[in-house]
């Protein structure tokens, strides 16, 4: 019988099916971090049980770590306590920890792939909704709550109901200056912030095939922003070449065996999807959000929609969002003043993102009245940026290259955007208060963020290229 990519992986991981209930799903890889794990370990202790298999778990500290002076003790007491708790729990249960000071430390969804831990055909979970990132390798990867973290620690299994299946085909050639971030913001604007709830989404088509692994990760990363359980892309030569030779990638005979399996991971020609969407890549513009969920985005040449164009019952939430953002319906986004630029997060903090920004800003200067924070996704990304002289380019432009962590994506550490200020951000969420109480977020690609960094405004990167 023909199967989708999702079904091939799903079927292989079902331990048993509960009658008139969910399936027991086996989890291959479990990533943990300091914020959503302490209560799970406390739960194990309360039950007097240990972890099922520590070798399938990898830990890092990312959510609340400072991005300056990481060699010093964490100043903020509660953050320090959470990080200390993680160190304690990892030691106690024998879990590998890439904590502060470790050369592999970084944002959990950056380090998994760069270390070769993330591989095709796996089931991967983490107490973080952006776990969908790892789906770019052709894996079923999704975020879970802390009770579920406890379940996976205790049994390496989860109870899951099979989601519906959606395929989004993006065919054709992207315009110059349009990136994978623009593809996913375009998709979410099209489907809405809840348009894929209950679905596993496979991204396919020639435009997807042409993307690098890092660009594919950006797309899968934001699957959750349209409500999807997970997002995935069939692995291909680009995937295999990316993984080969990485620290935890299979070696020698194991590699050949793994590769033979990975090459079977694609949706069969006549596999059935519950929903299918087709998009022409050439229609996608550089995108920017104007509202308070990631579905509230427009092409850079467009204007903020008028409330009248929405259903009457949707208007109050819409007007509330515009009021929070201090924006007027009908106005263009292009030209909107920006106070802060944040380039970072599990969506866009990888070396290709930093290279793109560096190439664009080389020889240019930070705009007056704009503060630019660049936060690499991991120690390895930071080191690579230094090796390539990208740090110097940023320094000459007046930007600060900080140290790895989640940073201003969610403002759990000191990196908060002040109330009322506008931040163009390469992260994934523009929710009210996400980057700090009353902070206002415009989501965009690293290139569009770079334009704002040197002009102080939301601009169209295409006008700067050619």
């Amino acid at each position: 019988m023909s199967k989708t990519l999702f079904e091939k992986i799903w079927d292989k991981h079902i331990v048993q099916q509960i009658e008139d209930g969910p399936s027991v799903m086996y989890i291959d890889k479990h990533f943990i971090h300091e914020v959503t794990s302490p209560q799970a370990f406390a739960g194990l202790e309360k039950r007097g049980i240990g972890v099922h298999n520590a070798k399938q778990i990898v830990a890092t500290a990312d959510h609340n770590v400072p991005t300056l002076n990481q060699h010093l003790p964490i100043q903020e007491e509660l953050s320090r306590m959470q990080v200390d708790k993680l160190i304690h729990n990892c030691k106690k249960f024998g879990i590998e920890l890439y904590g502060l000071g470790h050369p592999y430390q970084g944002i959990v969804h950056v380090i998994g792939p760069e270390l070769g831990i993330t591989q095709p055909g796996q089931t991967i979970v983490c107490g973080d909704s952006h776990t969908s990132t790892h789906g770019a390798f052709g894996a079923i990867a999704f975020g879970i709550g802390t009770s579920e973290v406890e379940m996976v620690l205790a049994t390496q299994c989860l109870l899951q109901s099979k989601p519906k299946l959606m395929r989004i085909n993006i065919d054709g050639v992207l315009q110059n200056g349009v990136t994978s971030k623009d593809i996913i913001l375009h998709i979410i604007a099209l489907t809405s912030a809840s348009g894929a709830t209950g679905y596993a989404v496979e991204y396919a088509g020639s435009a997807i095939r042409s993307l690098s692994m890092e660009a594919r990760m950006t797309i899968c990363n934001m699957s959750i922003e349209m409500g999807a359980r997970c997002g995935l892309i069939a692995p291909d030569e680009i995937t295999f070449n990316y993984i080969k030779g990485r620290e935890f990638a299979p070696k020698d005979n194991d590699w050949d065996k793994a590769l033979a399996y990975w090459q079977t991971l694609f949706s069969d020609a006549d596999a059935k999807f519950d929903t299918e969407i087709n998009i022409n890549a050439a229609d996608i513009e550089p995108m920017v959000t104007y509202g308070t969920n990631p579905g509230m985005g427009v092409g850079i040449s467009q204007t903020i929609p008028l409330a009248e164009t929405l259903a009457e019952k949707d208007q109050p939430s819409y007007l509330k969002a515009l009021q929070y953002m201090g924006l007027q319906a009908g106005n263009p986004m292009k030209g909107q003043k920006v106070d802060y630029v944040f380039i970072g997060s599990c969506t866009n903090s990888r070396i290709e993102d930093l290279r793109q920004v560096a190439n664009f800003v080389k020889g240019k200067q930070e705009a007056a009245d704009v503060e630019v924070w660049i936060v690499p996704g991991s120690k390895q990304v930071e080191q690579q940026a230094q090796a390539e002289g990208i740090d110097k380019v940023f320094q000459e432009a007046g930007f600060v290259l900080r140290q790895p962590g989640c940073s201003a994506c969610l403002g759990m550490n000191e990196d908060k955007i002040p109330a009322g200020k506008y931040c163009i951000s390469t992260s994934n969420r523009n929710f009210e208060g996400r980057q700090g109480p009353n902070a206002r977020t415009f989501l965009a690609s690293p290139l569009t963020a770079a334009v704002a960094a040197i002009t102080g405004k939301v601009g169209d990167v295409r006008e700067f290229l050619n």
Binding site: V15, Q16, E19, D20, G21, P22, V24, Y26, V35, T36, P38, Q39, A42, G43, R47, I49, H52, H63, L78, S79, M81, Q82, G127, D128, S129, F142, G143, I144, G145, T146, S147, E148, E150, M151, A154, T155, Q156, C157, L158, L159, S161, A193, S194, T197, I224, G227, N293, D314, P316, S317, L410, G411, M412, R429, F431, E432, G433, R434, P437, N438
Partner: protein, 198 residues
Amino acid sequence: MSKSINIITSSAVPLPIENVDTDQIIPARFLKATSRDGFGKNLFRDWRYENDNEATPKTDFVLNNPIYSGKILVAGKNFGCGSSREHAAWAIKDAGFDVVVSSFFADIFKNNALNNFLLPVVVSDSFLQQIFQAIEKDAAAVIEVNLTEQTITIVATKAAERFEINAYKKTCLLNGYDDIDFLLSIKDNIKAYEAQIN
């Protein structure tokens, strides 16, 4: 945490806003605790207080309005979208709610709620509007949620709707079992599966 739920009869707190994300339910800066307790006081923190200051409550926010109270929170569609933080479910439960009603829940939130004996009840758009109207008419309007029967009723008008929940989860909620108890009970099957894949 009260384990096991069945019939909840209570007035309700209306939150007729769509896409309420978990950053609103509990902002990230309050996720630094290492226990599950005490999140209720920061529920909807930035909608509740002006300038993050408990001395200046926003009087127009429902949780600050003394005419609304009860164990049932009624919210617009796509409730709980965004982050996977279970702290959102802990905060709602800790603030005294046993049920959240919406026309649509985000996936991860729904699981988190169920794992904390906070019942997510999915109703039709039109029934959701009927509940909001009933509360608008009478802030103390009583709603009855009956898990055994899988029904939700506006007591004054007797308007009722059936809601879905899978049989496994229903049994868990009625009896106070959680998924970890179940998974631990099938450890042998899990080990057999592992032996077969390795």
